[in-house]
Amino acid sequence: MRILIVEDDPHTATFIAKGLAEDGHTVDRADNGRDGLFLATTETYNAIILDRMLPVVDGLTVLRTLRGAGNSVPVLVLTALGDVDHRVEGLRAGADDYLVKPFAYAELSARIDSLLRRRQAPSAETTELRVGDLELNLLTREAKRAGRSIELQPREFRLLEYLMRQAERVVTRTMLLEAVWDYHFDPQTNVIDVHISRLRQKIDRHHPKPLLHTVRGAGYRLGVRE
């Protein structure tokens, strides 16, 4: 995948670029809004990582200009401004996701994966999700592993659905909170971990091959890969 990073801090930009390259992406870089806008409009990218505070032309202006020109490339906005108002402003300007500095690379990587995937996914409604021998029927709201039915609470169902839609990809705790609980807040303790471990009990117990993995320092991954 081809990704453009528009970020004026060279250290952050290098750090992100290195990580993305290791993840197998091709990376272009711009260190101000004008160059970023130029690259974004003249080249084709699968996603853009855009810092909000940029020299020459600021991030939101770049974003609005892109969207105004009918460019619908997925954009993740990076910012030091973490306020809800700022978030809303960023999303309104056309951002697909919003990440507050300082952030862990794992969080950024997971979110970029999610963005790229969202664009790739066929628009047709899927009624059934499948990861290995785990099946989730979205119509009957039934979950089965190796043909055996699993009892799920409504929230557990949403949690599993999200993890299965992001199969083989790392999802962070914050992403889970936003997607499954719909609140943007900062959990004081490992409250998500407890929910995950209960879900894990339900889907992985009595099965030799676990599907729900904990990724150290990042979050979780549901998949058949070890």
């Binding site: 973490g82 306020d83 809800v84 507050v100 300082p102 862990a104 929230r155 609980w181 719909d182 609140y183 943007h184 807040f185 900062d186 959990p187 004081q188 303790t189 409250v191 407890v194 929910h195 209960r198 150290r216 320092g217």
Partner: protein, 467 residues
């Protein structure tokens, strides 16, 4: 000597006129108003007195004229001419003037050797200047037509009135000088007084600005503008000092609470570099270092979030929000933690509406539940009540844990304050600070009570006004 003083005054005046300072303007304004008042009063008085003089003059002339006309009727043209000649030759009154004017404008009898044509041909009231040895005198006169085509002029020299006018002009000039001087003086004194009263305020604020934060402006309790200004500035200085103390306090705590993990992190990295550890141990050390950094980042985020919320003002523009589903979501989120700790989480809620930020209020409920579950004794019950007493919305969360001693109940809201016995446990010491900031930002309040045993947190939030 007088010359020196005068020139000093002039210099001072020039300085005042060219100055843009408030006190100079004040002095000038007062002097100007003083002069204006004087001029209005003088002009009014002058006009009134002049009117009275003029009326008197006209009255005397009218009576005199009527007298002579009566004489004309009784003794005819010749008799009137004789009378006028007599009066002119030996006047009873220096100021009275008479003239009998023939049909062609010919002067028949009287004082005048000549008269302006418009006076001779005129009729009724007239005024003209008479030139004689004394100079020019204004004459006010009445022309009366007689039966035989001739005219009678009866008039008076308005010498008294002229004298009055000259007197008034002269007096006015001196009075004007006095008024200007007096006005200037009063203006100057007022400006001096104002400047003097502001002097101490000026001096104190300058010194506070230079760093002497404990200084306050003396208040005289007169409740005049200056006193109110002093009180307002003092209140402002109190608030600034409070904030500065807060910042200092927070800085101390940040220094302590962030230095400790940072030092630990540094030592860990140092160790990894100097000691030749195995690859496996190396990874474990790196993971620990990363976890430590994540914790630091989380603390920073919480700190920034707290600062931002504290800076927000309670907004009437916030959207209306149903509190019950939000609280139930939080309860559901924490239910697994409760059951893991063998704690019964008992929630009793009713529907209620308020204005606010859903994410922040969720954070509030989550933090309180988190605390309650963290400190509750195993096997006890944590209760949550959400109700609306018609006046406000209450959220009450109680646990049966160790509780907080009464002396510490205010202190735990401060940033980074953690009671000694909990220093070892997980947490940043910002949870309750955040809860209080969110409650305040929504116009609410929070109190800690004894749940005998345990802690009961009571959050009061204003309910949305139903339209």
């Amino acid at each position: 000597m007088a010359r020196v003083i005068a020139s000093a005054c002039v210099n001072r005046l020039i300085a005042l006129l060219s100055a843009r300072s408030t006190s100079a303007r004040l002095a000038l304004a007062i002097a100007g108003l003083f002069l204006l008042a004087y001029l209005l009063l003088g002009a009014g008085l002058y006009y009134a007195v002049s009117q009275i003089f003029a009326q008197d003059l006209h009255e005397v002339i009218r009576l005199d004229s009527a007298d002579l006309v009566e004489m004309y009727r009784e003794s005819g043209h010749a008799g009137l001419a004789t009378e006028i000649s007599e009066r002119t030759a030996s006047p009873d009154d220096d100021n009275a003037v008479y003239e009998l004017i023939g049909p062609g404008g010919k002067l028949l009898a009287g004082q005048f050797a000549t008269l302006p044509a418009d006076v001779r041909n005129g009729d009724g009231w007239t005024e003209f200047d008479e030139r004689n040895a004394d100079g020019v005198v204004r004459v006010v006169a009445k022309l009366q037509k007689l039966g035989d085509g001739s005219k009678l002029l009866t008039g008076r020299r308005s010498r008294n009135q002229q004298r009055f006018e000259v007197l008034v002009q002269r007096t006015s000039f001196y009075a004007l000088l006095a008024a200007a001087g007096l006005g200037g003086l009063i203006g100057w004194i007022t400006a001096r007084w104002v400047a003097h009263r502001l002097e101490s305020t000026y001096d104190i604020t300058r010194r506070v600005g230079a760093g002497e934060l404990a200084l306050r402006i003396p208040e005289d309790d007169s409740d005049d503008s200056f006193d109110r200004l002093a009180k307002r500035i003092n209140a402002m200085l109190d608030r600034i000092q409070e904030l500065l103390d807060g910042v200092r306090h927070v800085t101390d705590h940040i220094a302590h609470d962030l230095r400790t993990p940072l030092t630990r992190l540094r030592n860990r990295l140092e160790e990894m570099r100097t000691e030749h550890v195995h690859a496996e141990q190396f990874t474990a050390e790196l993971d620990a270092a990363t976890a430590e950094t994540d914790q630091l980042l989380a603390t920073f985020s919480a700190l920034l979030r707290l600062t931002r919320i504290e800076a927000q003002t309670a907004g009437a523009n916030d959207p209306e929000l149903a509190m019950q589903p939000l609280v139930l979501d939080a309860v559901e989120l924490y239910a697994p933690i409760a059951s893991e700790g063998g704690i019964v989480l008992d929630a009793q809620t009713v529907p209620c509406t308020l204005r606010g930020d859903a994410d922040q209020l969720f954070q509030l409920v989550a933090n309180l539940l988190d605390n309650a579950l963290k400190y509750a004794t195993r096997g006890t019950r944590v209760t949550l009540h959400l109700f609306d007493d018609g006046d406000a919305i209450y959220l009450i969360i109680g646990d049966h844990g160790a509780g907080i001693p009464a002396v510490d109940r205010e202190r735990v809201f401060d940033r980074f304050v953690r009671l000694e016995e909990h220093r070892g446990s997980q947490g940043s010491g910002l949870g309750l600070s955040l809860v209080r900031a969110i409650a305040h930002r929504h116009g609410g309040s929070i109190t800690l009570e004894d749940n005998s045993p345990g802690l009961r947190v009571r959050v009061r939030l204003p309910r949305a006004v139903v339209r």
